[in-house]
């Protein structure tokens, strides 16, 4: 820090008012005033005025150019954005279609495998395997049972803003509760909107969507279960049924239970085993010794809220 030197040539330091005050009070470029002052004191030669004038015209042309370019740019960006969006939507649709195709093919192949296996195995072993498959959700099943239908309350004026609470909606916990109650009412096979539940199935929410085994399901939700004739009565007596009825009364959700004959529930997709390995000997397939009963034998990695019977 050098000491303040009082050399007389330097003018005393003047503190301007703070920046914002200055800005609001005097928005004009101070340069204009200074330039006017200069001009008044010694008028510039004519050629200089003329050339400055032409330069400023060029700048104005530049300015118009800039405005036009910026306007066009902004206009062009907008469709670009919506195009990107629709492109993404298209890609999603395409992938979903591919997934459907592939899973259909997987089903076909699985059936083929089953047929081949039946042919290769002796009658009783094959029958036992089929039973196990039906119990664990690995095989298609048919039978009488009940269908529980849940649907969101009809929307009201929400479509405009798309925000806010919106109409009351079915939550993933409702589906979990219903599925669990059906299991405990004696169901032997449960499917939500055609997605078969197994011991390791998950029912979760991701944002506003409900995912069953990581595949989105949309309302109205139909939880179909195959089980004994007493199942409907027992389900109706369950806590979740009472709760859902109350919720339905209060909020306008729809909730219904009906008996259905000759339901066909599809097979669940083959689970990917990450830690368990089938032993080399007699067990013919990994699903054979996975779980004889749909108990909560889930692989430790993913929670299985909809797990087996309680």
């Amino acid at each position: 820090m050098s000491a303040e030197r009082g050399d007389g040539g330097r003018p005393a330091r003047v503190y301007a008012p703070d920046f914002l005050t200055e800005l609001f009070r005097n928005p004009l470029e101070p340069g204009y005033v200074a330039a006017a002052e200069r001009k008044r004191r010694n008028p510039p030669p004519a050629w200089r005025t003329r050339s400055a004038r032409s330069v400023s015209l060029v700048v104005l042309v530049l300015l118009g150019f800039l405005l036009a370019v910026a306007y066009r740019q902004t206009m062009e960006e907008e469709p670009g954005r919506s195009q990107a969006r629709s492109g993404l939507v298209e890609q999603i649709k395409e992938r979903e279609r591919q997934t459907d195709e592939l899973s259909a093919r997987a089903d076909q192949l699985r059936e083929e495998v089953g047929r081949q296996r039946d042919a290769a195995l002796s009658g009783s072993t094959a029958a036992r395997l089929r039973d196990l498959e039906a119990g664990t959700g690995m095989g298609r099943v048919r039978g009488d049972g009940v269908v529980v239908r849940l649907a969101d309350a009809p929307g009201d004026a929400d479509a405009v803003t798309g925000t806010g609470a919106g109409p009351p909606q079915v939550l993933y916990t409702d589906l979990q509760g219903v599925a669990n109650a059906l299991w405990s009412a004696g169901a032997e096979a449960v499917a939500i909107n055609g997605q078969r539940l197994t011991a390791t199935s998950t029912i979760r929410s991701a944002g506003k969507a409900i995912l069953v085994d990581f595949r989105p399901v949309t309302g109205p939700y139909e939880v179909a279960a195959i089980g004994p004739g007493s199942m409907k009565r027992r389900f109706e007596q369950s806590r979740i049924a009472a709760l859902m009825r109350e919720v339905a009364d209060k909020t306008g959700l729809s909730f219904g239970v009906r008996e259905a004959d000759d339901l066909t529930l599809p097979a669940a997709p083959e689970p990917r085993l990450r830690y368990a390995e089938p032993p080399g000997s007699p067990s013919p397939s990994p699903s054979g010794d996975r779980s004889a009963s749909p108990g909560p034998s889930g692989s430790g990695t993913s929670p299985s809220p909809s797990g087996g019977g309680r």
Partner: protein, 110 residues
């Protein structure tokens, strides 16, 4: 009058040539436009104050645009590009408002 014609000529040129802005420059375009508008309103006000100066106008236009772009560029490098562009727009917006108010006083005496 000639100034307005020049402006229109620029617009026509821009529409006619329809240049594509390089992607790297795109974020600076709106800021540059606001800075240019500030210079223009400053010029108009000076004109009405009868102290318009061509050199001052040219220099203020070019420096406004360059400084605004530079600030936004710096902000981008520092990771505060959005906030700095907001700051630039606010400052220039205040100046434009003030100048327009002065122009209004000149034109309508109110």
């Amino acid at each position: 009058m000639i100034a307005v014609l020049a402006l229109l000529a620029g617009v026509v040129l821009g529409v006619w040539l329809d240049p594509t802005v390089p992607a790297a420059l795109q974020p600076y375009l709106p800021i540059a436009v606001v800075a240019a508008l500030d210079a223009v309103f400053g010029g108009v006000r000076a004109k009405l104050d009868r102290i318009f100066d061509d050199k001052q106008f040219v220099v203020s236009f070019i420096s406004n645009v360059l400084v605004a772009a530079l600030i936004v560029y710096l902000g981008d490098q520092l990771g505060v590009g959005g906030q700095l562009s907001t700051g630039v727009v606010v400052v220039l917006g205040v100046r434009i408002f003030g100048n327009v108010a002065a122009i209004r006083r000149h034109l309508f005496r109110a």
